[in-house]
Amino acid sequence: MRKVILVGWMMVMVMSLSLFATNLVVRGSNTVYPITQLWLEAFKEMDPEVVATLEGAGSSTGIRGLFNETTDIANSSRFLSAREIEDMNQAGRYFVSLVIAYDGIAVVVNKSNPIEEISLETLKAIYTGTINNWNQIDPNLPSGRIAVFSRSTASGTYETWSEKVLLNERMHPSVQVVESTQAEVENIRRNVNSIAYIGLGYVTDELKVLRVNGISCTVDNVLTGLYPISRPLFMFFDLKPFGFKWPDQGVVSDFITFALSPKGQALVAQAGYIPAYGDK
């Protein structure tokens, strides 16, 4: 008897799938995650009834979600890859890209590490395994095996790094691939030998940020493009469900409007990133 009820209940639930509630599903970049969290919290204050969920397992997971139709909005710290654009066209979809913020990728080391700046070539050498000791970079530095950290391949930050610094070469297998920026920050804070690349928004006073090719990672340098490793942060959404027209209404439209509004952009700054559209 219990089983009959259960089966019946499940059938009703399955059928109710078609009456899906208007949810807002956001998924993707770890880097964008803190911004979106602030946005959703503010959004909820404006509309307490809104049903939204957020996940951050890496930019690639968000874009994957757009393809699989499991997410409404994909957060990404990189643009679509050539392959993804091709797949998108083949599938008859159209992913609108919105720049929501700018971010510099800061190269960080432990505070007590004497080094102050580094070149792109040296960074590449470190991450591809050619250099593995600090005194190989500069003989004045104390000897120590470099503990190299990176985000995982799902990360847009990783993709940007791979493109701009590694020049698409393979990262050496000894590089420690950790799941989170937070883990990288912890390691940098405590490990004298460590080096990592993290989004500007994650930098704290307890880390030392290196100049890259002589340029500091500041808001101005990122905005003017002087700083060599910077990137826009994106939100993508599929236009197909809206009939290939810009959505005027609905939760996706409202959210995007909010994100790009002065109030939303102020939250970008609060999260530690560089607003794309001014933050009066």
């Binding site: 599903v25 969920t53 957020l54």
Partner: protein, 272 residues
Amino acid sequence: MVEAIIRNLFRFITYLIVAMVLFVLGYIVAPGFRYIFQQGFLTEFPRSGMTEGGIFPALVGSAFMVLLVFAISVPLAILASIFLSEYLKGRLSAIFQSICSTMTAIPSIVYGLFGLVFYCVQLGMGTSLLTASLSLSTMTIPFIVTSTTEFLKAVPVDIREAAMSLGASKFQVSIMVIRGAWKGMLTAVLLGMGKSFGETAPILITGTVFYATQLPRSIHDPVMALPTTIYAIVVNLGERSQWMAQGTASLMVIFVVIIYSAIQILRGVRKG
């Protein structure tokens, strides 16, 4: 002489290791206690990028999940173990039992993969409370069956024979056997629920999200859960949010202690 050395060595090691484990737990759990009793920790949603507020939605999510897993797996597991102990004999019984014990050895992440392919994709249910619970249930049912069957079989054969000779149906006999083994079965169920409560890997890929603005309104909505919240905070967020993860970890340990205390009480009742 040698004996004394060994005895003392063993004693030393035992106390050292037990102290180590308790110390590790104390280190994580103790600081987290005060967060649990903080105003709003259990009743509020997280705010300000999870630096303030509470873990209410994760608590509710985990509660729903355990409830759903209970509703799905307990009836199925009990019926299946009745089948094993009352209806199967000899060779078939051994085969079914080895199937169950094989399943209890499968890593939880493989259940997550299965859940993803089967419930989420094949059956098209997407990632939701339902698919996460189904995946956990698939994992928990064999576990409950293996533990329960042992208790059912322990009920003396004479009871069954006496009942049958009086004309009782298989159904009635089974009820009697369950009555006789109820404490053991309850223990098995509690253990199963405790396990599924703490599992992170399968629900990570089948149905949980790291932040939701509302509580799940139907079983098709994705949910937050306690273990995935710990993981999400440690992985995604900064220094100022770590306290929330610590509080959640302490909370989970408290729940485990409650469940296992209940099991201890049951065991005590049996001995008495």
